[in-house]
Symmetry: C2
Subunit: 217 residues, 2 copies
């Protein structure tokens, strides 16, 4: 579970990259730093080490590069979503193990270098890009909350926690995670990356403790 992070610096070696990959990676880098609108095709070409015109042999236009990044993000995001049975197993070990374990797994997903940049990109472009916004609302806001609501419902049925409204609990739990996204990727993005990511996990665990304390039987 730990060596998932190594995998030869995320994708291919720098040397083996195709031109299309170079354009893709350069765009991820620049878009995540400055935002889509403040990056020019010239910059992307320079960063990728090719001429401007060559970009259009691989992508129809600038927008198409962003689309490709979004699609990559979506597929990676869905690829690594928590399998149903694994969750059920964790839950039997008690609520704390379930949530702390879940938070760690989730952080591991974000912590892949290339994906971390795209997470930042997603956060800063959500206001402007409708595709990203729809994805965010559906897959990062509504679906997790619906899933959590279900989990809390089960926990209540199993008398693992107090019978508080499961929807409220889900919202209380997950809104904190969204807050951490924005705190990390927007408010604190430039302040020493590594330590901040670890702080995020600790904060999420502390939040989990507070919530479970509030509803424990």
């Amino acid at each position: 579970m730990k060596n998932k992070k190594i995998k030869a610096s995320n994708s291919q070696n720098e040397a083996k990259k195709t031109t299309k990959e170079k354009i893709f990676d350069a765009s991820v880098d620049l878009f995540s730093k400055k935002g889509f609108s403040d990056v020019s095709v010239r910059e992307i070409a320079k960063e990728a080490g090719i001429r401007e015109g060559s970009i259009y042999n691989h992508y129809k236009n600038k927008e198409a590069i962003l689309d490709a990044i979004i699609n990559y993000f979506k597929s990676e995001f869905n690829k690594s979503s928590l399998p149903e049975e694994e969750g059920a197993n964790l839950m039997d070990q008690g609520p704390e193990v379930f949530f702390v374990g879940g938070a760690k797994m989730f952080m591991d997903r974000i912590n892949i270098p290339q994906m971390e940049k795209i997470w930042r990109l997603v956060c800063i472009e959500t206001y402007r890009n409708e595709k990203i916004r729809e994805f965010f609302n559906k897959e990062i806001l509504e679906e997790p909350i619906a899933g959590l609501e279900n989990i809390f419902k089960i926990m209540i049925e199993k008398k693992m926690i107090k019978p508080v409204d499961p929807r409220t609990l889900a919202y209380e739990y997950w809104s904190f995670a969204i807050f951490l996204f924005f705190e990390y990727f927007i408010l604190k993005y430039h302040e020493d990356f590594d330590s901040y990511m670890n702080q995020g996990l600790e904060k999420m665990i502390e939040h989990t403790r507070f919530m479970l304390d509030a509803v424990k039987i």
Copy 2:
């Protein structure tokens, strides 16, 4: 306390506006919709009903307009911060009255038409603009949390709530408010404004109830 909102549609009547105000208001409008980088000086001039060149008689450049908006926002934000004694009075009526009353007052501050647009602008430009980011971190994140920490400390001393770590409580309470900012101004901004603002207040009140339930004696 309620008629603060009327005040002749926020600022001057449309007819009486100076050119500088027209430029300012047009910029607020456009920046809050599309973001600073995606708005041109030409657009601002058109929206303000003047010629492009005339803008430079009032502002040094495009960036200076944004600076003026930020400064206006800061001064309005500080102008309306909660007076110390009023808070103490509210607190004596119990935690629920204090927080529900506080949430309402806070929402009233945002709900002024011109300020609502600037709040949106602040939320979407935070990642890009260092002045906004510093302001957000200091005045919307750290200071409120420090203030809340103090309030929870007093409540614990007065034995109004359980002796949970006040810093944790402050973070638990305020992170939800920040989440609501982002949910409202980024994720749901175009989905029927008025009802969403009201929902926000209800959500904040529900959150307050959950938290107070968790720490009540």
